[in-house]
C-alpha cells in the first residue's frame, strides 16, 4: 500500500512538473507579451505544485531523498506522467488544447483529492484548486477564441485536435496505484472523472464550434514508465546541470 501511495504521489508530481517544464519553454516566445506571461505564470504554478508533492514523496522515501533528487535524478522510465503532458508545444493552438485537456481533467481530480483520506494530500489539493480553476478558465477561453476565431485559427486548433486526441484516453485508464488509492479513499470516486471531463470538453467545444472526435485507438504507457522519445529530451535539458555537476546549488 505504501508503494502505491508513493507511486501515486510521483504520478501527480510528474504530470505537473513535465507540463510546467513544457510551458516554461514558451518563455520569451509567446504570441503576445500578455500570453507569454500567462504561459509562464501557469508554468510556475505547476512547478510549485510538483515541489509540494515531491516533498511528500521524498519524506516517504527517506534515505536522503529531496524534491530535487526526485526531479533531477530519476530516469525517464521512472517518470509516471501521462504522455499528453510531454507532447511537444507545437504552435500556440496545440499548447492551448493540450492545456485545456489537462486542466479539464485536473479539475475533477483535485476536487476529489480535496476529500482525500490523506490529510497532506487534501491540504495540497485545496491549495492547488484555486490555481487549477484559474488555469481552466484561461485555457477554455482560448479554445473558444481559436475555434470560433479566424479560418486560420480554426485550422490550427483542428490540427492540434487531430494530434492530441489519441493521448486523452490514458488519463482514464487507471493504473494499479490509482485503483489502490481509490479503494483506500486517498483518491475517492475516480470512476466519475471521465464523464465530467467529457461533459466539460463537449461544453467548451460546442461554444468553440469544434467537433468531438470519435472514440479511437489511444496511446498509453506513461503511468508505467513507457514514454515517447520526447520525455528523454525534456529530461536531458532539465537534468543537465545536476547530472554534470552533482549537488550544484544556486
Amino acid at each position: 500500500m505504501q508503494d502505491h501511495l508513493y507511486n501515486f504521489l510521483l504520478y501527480l508530481g510528474d504530470n505537473a512538473l513535465i507540463l510546467g517544464h513544457r510551458l516554461s519553454e514558451w518563455c520569451g516566445h509567446g504570441p503576445v507579451l500578455e500570453q507569454d506571461m500567462a504561459l509562464t505564470n501557469i508554468a510556475l504554478d505547476l512547478v510549485g505544485q510538483s515541489r509540494n508533492i515531491f516533498q511528500l514523496a521524498a519524506k516517504m522515501q527517506g534515505e536522503g531523498a529531496t524534491e530535487d533528487t526526485l526531479a533531477y535524478l530519476r530516469d525517464a522510465t521512472a517518470y509516471k506522467n501521462i504522455l499528453l503532458v510531454e507532447q511537444k508545444n507545437g504552435d500556440f493552438a496545440k499548447t492551448i488544447l493540450r492545456q485545456f485537456f489537462y486542466d479539464a481533467f485536473n479539475y475533477p481530480c483535485y476536487q476529489r483529492l480535496m476529500q482525500s483520506s490523506n490529510k497532506d494530500i487534501a491540504a495540497f489539493a485545496e491549495k492547488s484548486m484555486k490555481e487549477i480553476t484559474y488555469h481552466l478558465k484561461w485555457s477554455s477561453e482560448w479554445v473558444i477564441r481559436l475555434g470560433d476565431g479566424t479560418e486560420e485559427s480554426l485550422r490550427r486548433i483542428n490540427e492540434a485536435l487531430e494530434d492530441l486526441w489519441p493521448y486523452t484516453g490514458e488519463m482514464f485508464k487507471y493504473a494499479d496505484f490509482e485503483i489502490a488509492m481509490t479503494e483506500s479513499g486517498v483518491f475517492p470516486d475516480a470512476a466519475g472523472i471521465e464523464a465530467e471531463w467529457e461533459q466539460e470538453v463537449k461544453n467548451i467545444f460546442a461554444q468553440a464550434g469544434l467537433e468531438l472526435p470519435e472514440k479511437a485507438w489511444m496511446h498509453d504507457g506513461g503511468k508505467h514508465g513507457r514514454h515517447s522519445e520526447h520525455l528523454g529530451y525534456i529530461l536531458a535539458e532539465m537534468q543537465f546541470l545536476q547530472r554534470a555537476y552533482p549537488g550544484q546549488k544556486w
Binding site: 500578455e34 504554478d45 484548486m129 484555486k130
Partner: protein
C-alpha cells in the same frame, strides 16, 4: 528562552520582514504568518504560501530566520502549512492602503469562484486617478498574485492584486 517575550513582540519583529516581490507589504500585511509558537527551547513561526509556485516563499523563510536571529533568537523553526489555503481576504487593511499608495490596485471584494468564462473583475479603481472606468488587459501579470489592467480615463496601465 526568555519567558518575558510575548507573541506580540515576535509579531512586531516580523512586521519588519517585507514581501520580496511587493516590498511595501510586510509579511504580516500579506497574511502569510499563521501562528507564532513559543516552545520551551524553540521559536516556531507557522507560514502559508500565497501561491504554490511563489518563488518569494523561500526568501521569506530565510528573512524570518535572519531577523529573529538578529533579535537574539537562536533556535528558530519555520513550518509551512497549506490548509486553510491563503486568500486575499487575509490582506490587512493597512496592507491594502499601502498597495494603493504604491500604485497597485488592492483586491476588491472577496475571494470567489473564478469558473465563469470571459468574466473579469470589473470596476477596479485606477491607483493613479481613482477612476473605475478601467478594463483588464490580461488575467496574468508580472507575479502570480497580479493581473494587468488599464485605465480608460488617464490611460495608465496598472497592476491589480487579484482576488484569490
Amino acid at each position: 528562552m526568555n519567558t518575558t517575550i510575548s507573541k506580540e513582540d515576535i509579531y512586531a519583529i516580523l512586521e519588519q520582514v517585507s514581501d520580496p516581490e511587493v516590498p511595501v507589504l510586510s509579511i504580516i500585511d500579506l497574511g502569510v504568518i499563521r501562528d507564532v509558537v513559543l516552545h520551551e527551547d524553540t521559536l516556531e513561526v507557522v507560514i502559508t504560501p500565497t501561491y504554490t509556485g511563489c518563488p518569494a516563499m523561500d526568501m521569506i523563510e530565510v528573512n524570518i530566520k535572519a531577523i529573529l536571529q538578529e533579535n537574539g533568537f537562536d533556535n528558530i523553526k519555520v513550518t509551512t502549512i497549506l490548509s486553510p489555503a491563503w486568500t486575499t481576504d487575509w490582506l490587512s487593511e493597512a496592507g491594502k492602503q499601502k498597495l494603493l499608495d504604491y500604485g497597485i490596485a488592492p483586491p476588491q471584494g472577496s475571494s470567489k469562484s473564478k469558473r465563469a468564462l470571459f468574466s473579469e473583475e470589473t470596476g477596479i479603481a485606477c491607483p493613479q486617478c481613482r477612476s473605475t472606468h478601467t478594463e483588464m488587459i490580461s488575467q496574468f501579470g508580472s507575479t502570480a498574485c497580479k493581473s494587468q489592467y488599464k485605465c480608460l480615463d488617464c490611460k495608465e496601465p496598472f497592476d491589480y492584486f487579484k482576488c484569490h
